[in-house]
Symmetry: C2
Subunit: 491 residues, 2 copies
């Protein structure tokens, strides 16, 4: 690629930004912290949405839509919730502009001030539980299994495309249950859906676990998460599923009559993933030649590039190439034939390599004669010649092989970057020299966790589900510990 493109070694952060911009995924907008998701980047998000939406529906959920505005007073009803979100929210105070009496342009019309300010949703628990109050009278009205695809706004100070932006797109599931057990089961079920999606679509292995109190969602009793490892050894939280207990039901007075005829508060969960996942896919698989996409999420799975020297060859090759395209499309593959004569094959090879298209098929006059094509794999950069016979099936198998290979590579990488630390020195050494996940003993207090974060920037990513109990001493305080937890520096 062009020389102004960074490698991971040189500057990981610039490498990431270069890929996002040069692969046409997204760009910064005129509004601080907000990005424009360009068609190619948005197409990846659409693939994610469509797979997740089907998984949500297969597990009994329906979509709905709630207002983007939350009355300020709703926000204060759950004490932890407002603590967690009040510091970073966009506030609507007026509902009209007027011509500037002193000059050009428009100014806010002071006579159009809202009685109560409205907050742009940073998450929708409050407005949704205010609504659920009217939906629930009896146990027969439960469970409510609802999901929403929406935009949310959190006024983050340091932003980065896809990974952390002031506005982002996400889905938020909000469910209501008659019993604690059922709500906890739902929390786990959706965590499993997320892990399944991360591993089988994004080709990223994830650790499932529960957050420590410090890292818990504001208003939750327990936050479950999936944690992925990026190529620079930093962790990335890829999805969360919260058991909210009866906190929001109490705050918004949502009660139901149980089978036994008692009036009880409803149990709640919420769970979400966002456009951050696009950032995770980019970071997990791409290389110094540009973007690498898992076939299941690639907007274009196969690109066909005709090779020719003259007009006659061009027509002959394109005719065959188009046959191949149609055969593969009929098989359900996402194929593009780039038959533009304004760009040379070499330029196209670079372009689609950089954009992470999993397979490239080149076809020239000799291929037409010999009934062959040349296929290049994006993941390994290997090229091989294939007979055209039964090509759609061969291509399908190659795509599956790439999907598997990307997952296996990411898994091997994570295994190689998973460490055990038993002393503070060891812990710091691993953090600074190797990165990755570190299993270490912790005394279980929020204070220790906070101090470790302040001194090393590492946080507890999670306490893995089914973690084995093992006595030891906290790497920081030396106090007794009943289990190792997973530390890492994180996005």
């Amino acid at each position: 690629m062009a020389k102004d493109f960074s490698t991971r070694e040189e500057n990981y952060s610039k490498w990431y930004n270069d890929i996002v911009q040069r692969a046409d995924l997204a760009e910064n907008s005129a509004v601080r912290g907000c990005m424009v998701i360009k068609p190619y980047g948005y197409a990846i998000w659409e693939r994610m949405q469509s797979a997740l939406d089907k998984m949500f529906k297969d597990t009994g959920h329906s979509n709905a839509y709630f207002p983007i505005f939350i009355p300020k007073s709703f926000f204060s009803k759950e004490a932890d919730h407002v603590e967690g979100f009040a510091k970073e929210c966009a506030v609507v105070t007026h509902y009209r502009l007027k011509n500037d009496p002193d000059g050009k342009g428009v100014v806010v019309d002071d006579t159009a001030k809202l009685e109560e300010e409205l907050i742009i949703r940073p998450t929708s628990e409050t407005i949704i539980w205010d609504t659920y109050r009217n939906w629930v009278q009896s146990y027969r009205d439960l469970p409510i299994l609802v999901n929403q695809w929406a935009n949310v706004v959190r006024w983050e100070m340091r932003t980065r495309m896809f990974l952390r932006t002031a506005e982002f797109l996400w889905q938020e599931g909000h469910t209501a249950h008659a019993t604690k057990e059922e709500a906890i089961e739902e929390t786990h079920k959706m965590l499993d859906v997320y892990a399944d999606f991360a591993e089988n679509y994004m080709a990223i292995p994830v650790l499932k676990g529960v957050k420590s109190e410090n890292e818990r969602f504001a208003g939750a009793l327990d936050t479950y998460c999936i944690e992925a490892l990026m190529q620079d050894g930093k962790a990335l939280q890829a999805g969360t599923s919260h058991f909210l207990g009866q906190n929001f039901a109490r705050a918004f007075d949502v009660k139901f009559t149980s089978k036994e005829g008692k009036l009880e508060y409803v149990w709640a969960t919420s769970w979400g993933v966002s456009t951050r996942l696009v950032g995770a896919v980019i970071m997990a698989h791409s290389d110094d030649n540009g973007l690498v996409l898992p076939p299941k999420l690639a907007p274009i799975q196969v690109v066909i590039v005709p090779i020719y020297k003259n007009e006659k060859q061009y027509r002959m090759v394109c005719e065959k190439a188009d046959e191949i395209r149609i055969a593969m499309q009929n098989k359900g593959l996402r194929v593009k034939l780039d038959d533009r004569d304004t760009h040379k094959p070499g330029w196209k090879f670079n372009e689609y390599e950089f954009k992470g298209v999993p397979l490239r098929i080149a076809i020239g006059p000799r291929d037409v004669e010999n009934d062959t094509v040349e296929i290049a794999r994006r993941d390994t950069l290997e090229k091989s010649v294939y007979q055209q016979q039964d090509l759609p099936n061969k291509v399908e198998h190659l795509l599956e092989a790439i999907q598997d290979n990307l997952f296996q590579k990411a898994l091997n990488f994570r295994d190689a970057k998973t460490f055990y630390a038993d002393t503070w020195e060891e812990f710091n050494e691993i953090l600074d020299e190797k990165g990755g996940f570190i299993y270490a003993h912790w005394d279980g207090t929020a204070e220790t966790e906070q101090k470790i974060k302040e001194e090393t920037k590492a946080t507890i990513r999670c306490i893995p589900l089914g973690n084995k109990k093992q006595e030891g001493k906290c790497i920081y305080s030396g106090k007794a510990s009943a289990q190792r937890v997973i530390f890492a520096r994180a996005y």
Copy 2:
């Protein structure tokens, strides 16, 4: 249905609201003018989205996403645009809350005031054309064919669920072209897509036409529209497609080098439909028994209700009903088997009739013996007995017949409600006594149009495409007119 449900005759407006609420489509939220779209209502919108999205992609468009915030200064760059939208927009002025020092709850943190206020998009031309400036250098970068699915906010004073809400969901296409001709062609193409969708999915006949200057989109050179007729004789604008000329390219300095090497401003279009279409579908087809949905948009196309007297019959009937369900689902139909034993068949009949499910299949013990089922059509309320053999095909044909029948009924209704008026008296008489579309002569001036609106509340819905020229006298001013235009009272 229950006695508290209005008929169209009694109170058309209440009838509409009753359907929206009692069929579980939507409800008002705690935020003024914003609705909650409930799962059943949202499922109709999802069917619309999926059909339209495919039509947009089949015509070469891609989806993308632009920020919800528009810097205030962008708004003023196109003079007509700001005039049209400044009066009804939500303004973000602050980005943080803090604990109220004088008491409970939170207040806006005055130290977190934005330097420049942000407007919640009422439509995205300005932020998008600010972005396009960097996407376009040469004619080779054109056309840009982009669509966005998003929420927008217009601070309307009088709102009505689906038809006019402060926040609504929509799609907005924004395209950029090298020539005027190409942009105009795109405007027409997307109008045709909308008309196709309205007639073939929503089963609503529409008139295609161009708006008068008064009714034009703020910033457009021409606004094309599709106009539908509701059962109370009022018109409803169901979609618009705007030819924006070079207005936004000039305002945001978007130029390109043409094939001839000249620097020129880019030509623009924009086009959109919204959740208002859900309101149109409800109003166009429903009757005094509740909602009526066209099969192509119905979340549930067929409901199966088992009839039984005892546990043994229940099991026998449900087994057969489930076989039927599976056979129909395998055919791609959207089927629900309601085998709850907590509700009686009569209750279920009412429920699904009210919710507009196109076909209801009842199956009892005698049906199981005789290999029959009873099928009731929601549109005609007719019931017939069918042999179970080949049932999925029969059901598919019935659904097609319902789709066609709803369109034909709506077309007949519109034909019966289309009038010609040659005098002011005639015009007023038709408006007050019959409603519907009125073809009448108009002198072509904005003043006359405005006066007609003030005196009668009727507006020019459109000048039909391919309108035949015909000399006459303006019904209001008596001045010369070259053609009839279409008037109606409208939503």
